[in-house]
Structures are given as structure tokens and as C-alpha cells.
Symmetry: C2
Subunit: 149 residues, 2 copies
DNA sequence: ATCTAAATGTAATAATGTTGCATTTATATT
DNA sequence: AATATAAATGCAACATTATTACATTTAGAT
């Protein structure tokens, strides 16, 4: 994928009444260019000129607005991924599989895999579901197969 | 439930070649007496005489041994719950639903709800699954119904 | 061009995770 | 029962992360 058109992100910020700042555009373009979730340390290492508190606040406001959603990996560190479907303000629908690779530590949002219906025990009223899996992602399972065989 | 017999926990520690100390027995009896997961801050507030590093290490060793398993709640804080089934050393099977109540913040392990089979996309090799849901637990949904109606 | 609310940077604090080391304690052995 | 020893604990220290306050800068409206 070539460099994604910036005006797309500018529209996105507009839509949510957020000012179009350099930092926000860069965060958006990084997150949209990857198919894995991004942690704040990831962002910090790439955009070391931006203060980490600013990144922290950008991630927070994006999450509030429903632009990204937060998912915790196996170590409990927060990762953020762009919301694909119909996430709105304070209203997320990340009911898909979050795949956590134990080797490269990447978190993949597998949107095609939707949640199966579940019958909860009497009394429990769920308003959202999230599914986690851990194991090897395609890249890492190829690598390990290569070294073992 | 009356006070659970302590010798049960002593046997458990024995089985894993852990010394039977007061701190460990108290942690076990607290965790077994609840049907929700316990965070370290929970333990600290109840057992303020035990050093927080000790609690940290007790939780770690219990997890290694397969006595308890760790689950992160919606805020990313670690919660621990007793393993019911066949968890062994470094080998957990918590493939059940973790229900996170948005009101009382409790995490319930609903063991009866096992994971449905899933077809992962080509290349992904999963070795464990975990399912999360959030919403209202029985107690809190009753309460909110009472105040609304 | 200028004004204003929003966004950022800086500093500071709180909470949490983690390690090293000295002391204490459970338990195996005599 | 006394004691030797490895394990467990407490304490201090440090690292990392989350969070807030406030002063300065900047995007966007006028």
C-alpha cells in the first residue's frame, strides 16, 4: 500500500470535531497502515518527538470517539486498533477475535470472525463480548516450521 | 459456606511442593471463598499485614503451579481466580467466559460456558482461547431494575 | 489579522511491576 | 527435640506506566 491519502484522516478528525494536528494525523496513518494493534510504546518509539503524554491523550480521545478500540494483550499491556465497523462515541463493537501471537507479540484483530451466540447463566446481562486467542501468527508459524523441520 | 477446612489447602500446597505458610493459606482461603476473581489490591486491603511484594510473589507462584489463573479486566488490571479444571504447571485451560460487571467491577469465571470451536484464518495456530463479556451481573442487574422501574 | 478554545509540552505525582538482599521460618534430618 | 538448610518473607530501591495540573502554543472561527 502506498502512502494513504491524508485527507481521509482529516475528514475523520473533522467528523469527530477534533482539530487536525500533525501528531493526530501521524498516529492515524500509522495505525491504519498496520493490520495489527499498536501499543503506546510502539508509537513512542516511532514518534519520539511527540511527548508521551500527548500520545496518551490522543489515544484516549480516539477511543472515546470510537475511532480506535483498546485491547489488552496477554501481558496486560494496552494495544489499540482502528475500529472497522460501526463504533460510535462511547459505544464500541469489537466483537471479533483478538489474536495474540506468543512469538512476535503482535495483536491481530480478525474482524471476519464474529462472536457466536452464547447463552449466559440466569441473571447475567451482557452488552459486549470479546474473544481472545493466543498462539502463532502466520508469519511466526512459518518460521518455527522452518527451523524445526 | 462455613469456613473451608484448612487442611484442604495444606494438601494443595503440599502437592505443589510449596511450604504451608500463613500468608499462602490465607490467600487460598480468600480466593476459594469467592466466586469472583480477586485483584492484588483486593488482597492488599484485606491482608494489610502482608507485604505487597509477598502477595505479588504468592500470586506468581500460584499461577506458575496452575493453582490460579490470571485474567485482565476491562481496565487492564490483573485479576486472579482459582483454576477449577485440569490446569497444570505452566499449562492453563481457562477456556471459559470471563464476565466483567461494569457496575460492581467483579470478574466472574463462568466455567460451564466453554469455548465454541472456531475456524481461524489460514496460518493462525491457536493454542488457547479466552472469552470476555461485560455487562451487568445478576446482583447489579437486579439493583438497576429496582431503581429504574 | 486576531481571538479563543483546544491541543500540546513540561513537570510532578500515583500506582504498579519487579529485583536484590538480609532476615526469618517451615521442614527435613539427625 | 535440636538444628541445619532451602524456601519464604520483608524491606528498600528502582522501573514503568497511568494520570493530573498548569503554562504555552496552535488550529480554526471571526
Amino acid at each position: 500500500m502506498a502512502q494513504t491519502k491524508n485527507f481521509r484522516f482529516e475528514e475523520l478528525l473533522d467528523k469527530h470535531h477534533l482539530k487536525k494536528t500533525g501528531a493526530r494525523l501521524r498516529v492515524l496513518s500509522m495505525m491504519y497502515s498496520k493490520n495489527t494493534a499498536t501499543s503506546q510504546p510502539d508509537l513512542e518509539s516511532v514518534m519520539s518527538d511527540i511527548d508521551r503524554v500527548t500520545l496518551y491523550r490522543i489515544l484516549n480521545v480516539f477511543e472515546e470517539k470510537g475511532i480506535i478500540h483498546k485491547v489488552f494483550d496477554l501481558n496486560g499491556t494496552a494495544n489499540y486498533a482502528v475500529c472497522h465497523a460501526d463504533c460510535g462515541e462511547n459505544h464500541h463493537h469489537d466483537e471479533h477475535l483478538h489474536f495474540n501471537c506468543t512469538n512476535c507479540k503482535n495483536v491481530y484483530c480478525l474482524d471476519d470472525l464474529h462472536m457466536p451466540r452464547l447463552n449466559l447463566p440466569e441473571g447475567f446481562k451482557a452488552d459486549s463480548f470479546t474473544l481472545y486467542a493466543s498462539g502463532l501468527c502466520p508469519k511466526c508459524s512459518k518460521k518455527s516450521a522452518a527451523t524445526i523441520n
